[in-house]
Amino acid sequence: MLSLQSLSKTYADGTRALEAIDLAVPNAEIVALIGGSGCGKTTLLRLVAGLDRPSAGRIALDGEPITGPHPGVGLVFQEPRLLPWLDVAANVGFGVSDLPRRERAERVAHALERVGLAEHAGRWPRELSGGQQQRVSIARAFVANPRVLLLDEPFSALDAFTRKDLHRHLLALWEEVRPTVLIVTHDVSEAVALADRAIVMRPKPGRLDESVALPLRRPRDPAAPASEAATRTILGALDRSLRPRDAARTPELAGGSSF
């Protein structure tokens, strides 16, 4: 269980990026965070990853407080952030350098196979396309077997075909390790394709707004009526999140809505 309790972040310049975030994510759940830019999505992931410290509130993973980068928490950045001086295999193995060489090589090879890059193990990052680079960075996060995997708009720079392909790879890896996943996206169809729950965020200060449960079977068909209904529900929630707070009804996170 990943739990955030009245989590707030105010930056040094006074920007209230997040205010009083409460969220509990059971193990192996996939949660999509949706919202326009400036909602504090990146800030939220950076706090959970331990890269920044919250101004108030606490984060705990299975009861253990998170106060800095944690071995159980992996992060895939918005950009691939591969190390250009390491080949693909070494990039994937970057976070598990303390493993014995044999086991490390096996895990790297397995992860590369999972993301469909087995034949590119010896290449330099700059010889890969953007989609391939992002697959390497996802493999790098998975190789460390995280209990919580955070993904910050990992596919936003990619075309629709590549994105769909990566959804497939991501779900395949998830099936294997079954980590808790927090994925930030501004693409509603991405949330419907991947998540068990979508949470809409609103800005200034960043807060969690409505939550939509997505109890759809996998693999999911984006054209199925259930997916289309879910998409409409999330779009409606997004719409309401853009209205001034007191004018709209305020269904707090607690109950959440299903569709």
Binding site: G74, E79, L83, W85, D87
Partner: protein, 280 residues
Amino acid sequence: MSGPTVLLTDAAPAKAASTRRSALLGGGGRALLGLLLPLLLAGAWEIAVASGFATGRLLPPPSRIGAALWSLAASGELWTHVAATLIRVGLGFAFGAGAGILFGALTATLPPLRWLLDPSLQALRAVPSLAWVPLFILWFGILETPKVALIAVGVFFPVYVGVAGAIASVDRKLVEVGRIFRLSPLALARRILLPAVLPATLTALRTGLGLGFLFVVAAELMGASEGLGYLLVDGQQFSKPDQILAAIISFAVVGKLADTALVTLTSPLVRWQDTARETL
């Protein structure tokens, strides 16, 4: 449907021919073309002197320069001078580059030290290095110390600026990758900072080495009993332009060889970058 097919078969051999042509010019062909002009000029001058159109007293023809080089080399004199020059450059480079890397790394990573030292170093950098010569002679006499000191000063500044700049511009995003995987400060320095600053550092070292050769000439011109610079002065005093040109050619060859050695020795470290350059 047949139109485009015919076009294609027509185009294919033409394309192959053009790639063949550019391959020829791209490899040895281009190098030969670059040699053409100097060889032509040298040949023309040789003929002009040989046929009496010019005396070649102030600018000796290639054959006389070659003969001067040959006799210097055969007597072993040339190697003494080359060795003396190389030792000076080597020592000056070692001291200057060592200090440059040390100070660059310290000021870039420790802000208080940067605020303390960098303004003074930048002020010193504004002084043309040759202006130190009289002072160095007063301080250190005229033997090896002032020469090595001058070369070291010349090497220090580009290396200092290059290393400090490289460290300051390390991508914070890559550092965060190291933090996510909980690298210790030492591991972070070794696995992220060091490889990230290596290319710029090597470029700075190369610039430094080039300046080392620039300043060894100045140092040897200020008085030396051996070294390629000594050959220059000696050639001027005894009016031996062939010896001067032989020394200049030796400088060029030795400098180029030293640069090539530095690049060759360090290129495995930045192999990942070279592939990028190839594809540009």
